[in-house]
């Protein structure tokens, strides 16, 4: 009789089965047989059988390894130690088969052969390493050119969308920015020195394919400042049905340019007279809807960069937040000095003022947006808010009065007084 009657029920059905995949590994790796045994027990009892944490790691690093121990080690000795290793992924999750086979070889040798491609933050995840195998596994990984990613209260492995490698909408080089910032931040990535986790994600356009606005403390989202590029003959081809909406990715065969594009523009900044599509670009809010609908007719402009947003995190602890705009536009070009400097002003302020396990977005809510913006040397801008405050409870600092005394209207930040 099968030892895993409940898990066996996940072997049927059309979607690929992780149970079938793990079972064939279990034939070679006794720890995976125990992993399935313990998982079956959880399916019976509806409760986890992993113990709380445990500090393990490789020499000199305080991150990249998450300790994991079974609470049933006598029954399932193979998973007594079953630590996680996070390996920093390459930009855009591109691989050669040679590189991935090398990772597989290392993992078959030192671990359970079970992995994720990829974890929620973006890393390659190796699941199931014994403590004594961590250091040899790490040594082989670095010898092959790979390094660990972040975990705990560190700078986490940044991730990015496919960007200019395979997308016509990317407003900056997400792949290069992700790589360069990851290299710049190696010390903070491997040594916990922050109040809590800190993530950066790079999306090339407001479609935000890596969910930067929801999943990164610092969200870098590509945007253009000039006009949407329009190919009027292609607009006609969409209107005539020769080209399919969304490149064919929709349930609709023929686009109604007036109803589906112009009529759904959130700013009503477009018009179409049956011949020419007109866009009032100064009133476009860069939502991407029209471009998504007609990818052969419309493209983002050429004066491009990124908006910088800050603060998002999942509900722990003060409730989920989305990132908000702190700088509406930044030119994103190597060596990314402006971005690196802003990033270090943010992390320094947060490291100084943040409480243990307080995300940067929560700290800003606690201390106030003004205090943050002044520390980050960012002037107030209407793009930062959806609407201004409705209450009269605003503060005046000495710097505001000093600016007034100097005959200036308002204080914005050092060097940015409004005359």
């Amino acid at each position: 009789m099968s030892k895993t009657p409940l898990l066996d029920q996940l072997e049927s059905g059309p979607w690929p089965s992780f149970v079938t995949d793990l079972k064939r590994i279990a034939a070679k790796k006794p720890q995976v047989l125990d992993l399935l045994g313990q998982l079956e027990r959880s399916y019976q009892e509806k409760i986890t059988h992993w113990k709380h944490g445990g500090i393990v790691g490789v020499l000199g690093y305080g991150s990249g390894i998450i300790g994991r121990y079974s609470d049933l080690p006598d029954e399932f000795p193979g998973v007594e130690h079953f630590h996680t290793m996070r390996i920093n992924q390459p930009s855009g999750w591109f691989y050669t088969t040679a590189a991935l086979r090398q990772l597989c070889d290392i993992w078959d040798k030192h671990g359970s052969s079970v992995m994720n491609l990829h974890g929620a933050t973006g890393d390659v995840i190796f699941l199931g390493c014994r403590t004594e195998n961590l250091e040899p596994c790490f040594a082989e990984l670095t010898a092959a050119g790979w390094d660990l990613g972040g975990s705990g209260s560190t700078f986490r492995s940044p991730s990015c969308c496919v960007g200019p490698a395979r997308c016509e909408w990317s407003c900056y080089d997400t792949m290069e920015a992700c790589y360069e910032i990851t290299q710049e931040m190696q010390f903070d990535l491997h040594r916990p020195s922050y109040p809590y986790k800190y993530k950066i994600k790079f999306s090339g356009c407001p479609n935000d394919c890596v969910a930067a606005v929801a999943r990164a403390d610092l969200s870098v989202i590509g945007v253009w400042k000039d006009d949407i590029r329009v190919d009027q003959s292609a607009v006609q081809a969409y209107a005539g049905g020769e080209l399919k909406p969304k490149g064919g990715g929709a349930h609709v065969d023929k686009l109604d340019v007036q109803a589906d594009v112009v009529g759904l523009c959130p700013t009503y900044c477009m018009s179409y007279d049956g011949k020419t599509l007109k866009i009032d670009d100064r009133n476009c809010n860069h939502c991407m809807h029209c471009i998504n609908m007609m990818p052969q007719a419309l493209r983002p402009g050429t004066e491009t960069g990124a908006a910088i947003l800050l603060g998002s995190h999942a509900p722990i602890l003060e409730g989920a937040q989305l990132s908000w705009v702190i700088q509406p536009f930044m030119v994103m070009e190597s060596p990314y000095d402006e971005f690196k400097e802003l990033n270090s002003r943010i992390t320094e302020w947060w490291a100084e003022h943040g409480k243990n396990r307080e995300r940067v977005g929560e700290l800003i809510l606690r201390l106030g947006m003004r205090e943050f913006l002044e520390a980050a040397e960012l002037p107030p801008a209407p793009q930062q808010v959806r609407i201004p405050r409705a209450n009269p409870f605003f503060f005046w600092n000495q710097s505001d009065f000093d600016a007034e005394a100097k005959g200036r209207k308002y204080y914005q930040t050092e060097g940015f007084d409004v005359e």
């Binding site: 690929p16 089965s17 509806k46 699941l127």
Partner: protein, 357 residues
């Protein structure tokens, strides 16, 4: 030890890019989706790149990865990538290779799809296979839901794309809080304090500070160096357990699945939005979580029937109103649906006469 390498970072991506991408980097002009699961990108140079997308589990073995590698060697000169939603993409320059690749994928049982107006792969967390705080499993419910919605993975028949996510507890490592449909594992048990363990394992001030609702106090009997929990104030977040292993809040019977709906991250038409509570609790029912699967299908079908073309699930609900959503989907509205947690609560209360009966 002198040869020990550290802080080298990930390998440079350029060595992993196929020649066609190196040649056309930043020069892509437009894309098409000729059929579900196949993307065609055309460069300003006229070069054409075909990406064939296939669904996979997130929890995989090196055997599986080697099979992917064999296919990529056979069809793509050894180059391929993964998407942000754990799909595999085979990168082809020769259009004629698409059909043979699809045939091989079919034989291996890897579905082609996940593009355009589909239900693409579910992003998820570890669950019982690797995590110490889950209320539910992750890979199991994901497999059960994808089996059930399989027809939507390989087709473009929905009003817009539908992004489903699963987090096995409210820590939401999978950041499911902005998904069209989110499954979230919930605990419903107040921490069971192990006073003996607590005095040896935990720092009392940090344990008290970890509670977002201020429900934890020092034990009134000072000779017992421990804490007490004000039970009515506990909403089972497990944050205290993260700080102090002597406060487990697990329970075989009371844990389950909450469903949240209507979130998105894209800016297209409407701004990014959080998912909102649709169903506060569905019993934990391994191995296939039938009640969860059935409720998700019901919401998806009602959305597909009711939404205008191009409307995301949340945009449909916003248009018809949440009171209609609960009516149409035949879901009960409960006290749990009304927010009473901190700063976000007020903005969810209705302050207008704009509602329906």
């Amino acid at each position: 030890m002198s040869e020990r390498k550290t802080d080298i970072g990930p390998p440079h991506y350029e060595q992993f890019l196929p020649p066609i991408i190196k040649e056309n980097y930043g020069k892509w002009k437009y894309h098409e989706i000729p059929e579900p699961g196949v993307l065609k990108h055309v460069s300003e140079s006229g070069a054409e790149l075909y990406s064939v997308r296939a669904g996979a589990s997130r929890l995989i073995s090196t055997d599986f990865v080697r099979e992917v590698c064999d296919l990529a060697d056979k069809f793509c000169d050894g180059y391929f990538r993964f998407t942000s939603r754990n799909n595999i993409e085979f990168l082809l320059t020769d259009k004629a290779r698409i059909e043979p690749l699809k045939k091989d994928l079919k034989e291996l049982g890897w579905p082609v799809g996940g593009t355009g107006h589909s239900v693409t792969s579910i992003i998820h967390t570890q669950g019982w296979v690797h995590c110490h705080t889950p209320a539910i499993d992750a890979s199991g419910p994901v497999k059960a839901v994808m089996d059930d919605l399989f027809e939507y993975f390989g087709s473009h028949q929905l009003p817009a794309q539908v992004r489903i996510a699963l987090a096995c507890c409210i820590n939401m490592c999978g950041a499911v809080h902005c998904s069209d449909i989110a499954m979230c594992g919930v605990h419903r048990t107040v921490p069971k304090i192990d006073h003996q363990k607590l005095r040896h394992l935990c720092e009392i001030p940090t344990t008290i500070a970890s509670c977002p609702t201020g429900a934890i106090r020092p034990h009134p009997d000072k000779s017992i160096k421990s804490v007490v929990v004000n039970e009515p104030r506990c909403m089972y977040c497990g944050n205290c357990y993260t700080m102090c292993p002597a406060l487990p809040c697990f329970d075989s019977e009371k844990g389950g699945v909450a469903l949240l709906v209507g979130g998105k991250v894209s800016n297209a038409k409407s701004p990014p939005a959080f998912s909102r509570l649709a169903v506060p609790y569905i019993p934990n029912n391994p191995p296939r979580w039938p009640e969860t699967v059935e409720t998700i299908r019901k919401i998806l079908i009602k959305y597909a029937e009711g939404a205008n073309k191009w409307e995301r699930l949340g945009e449909w609900i916003e248009r018809i109103g949440w009171e209609k959503f609960f009516e149409v989907c035949d879901l009960p509205f409960t006290f749990q649906h009304i927010d009473d947690y901190k700063f976000q609560a007020y903005e969810t209360y209705r302050t207008s006469m704009h509602f329906k009966f």
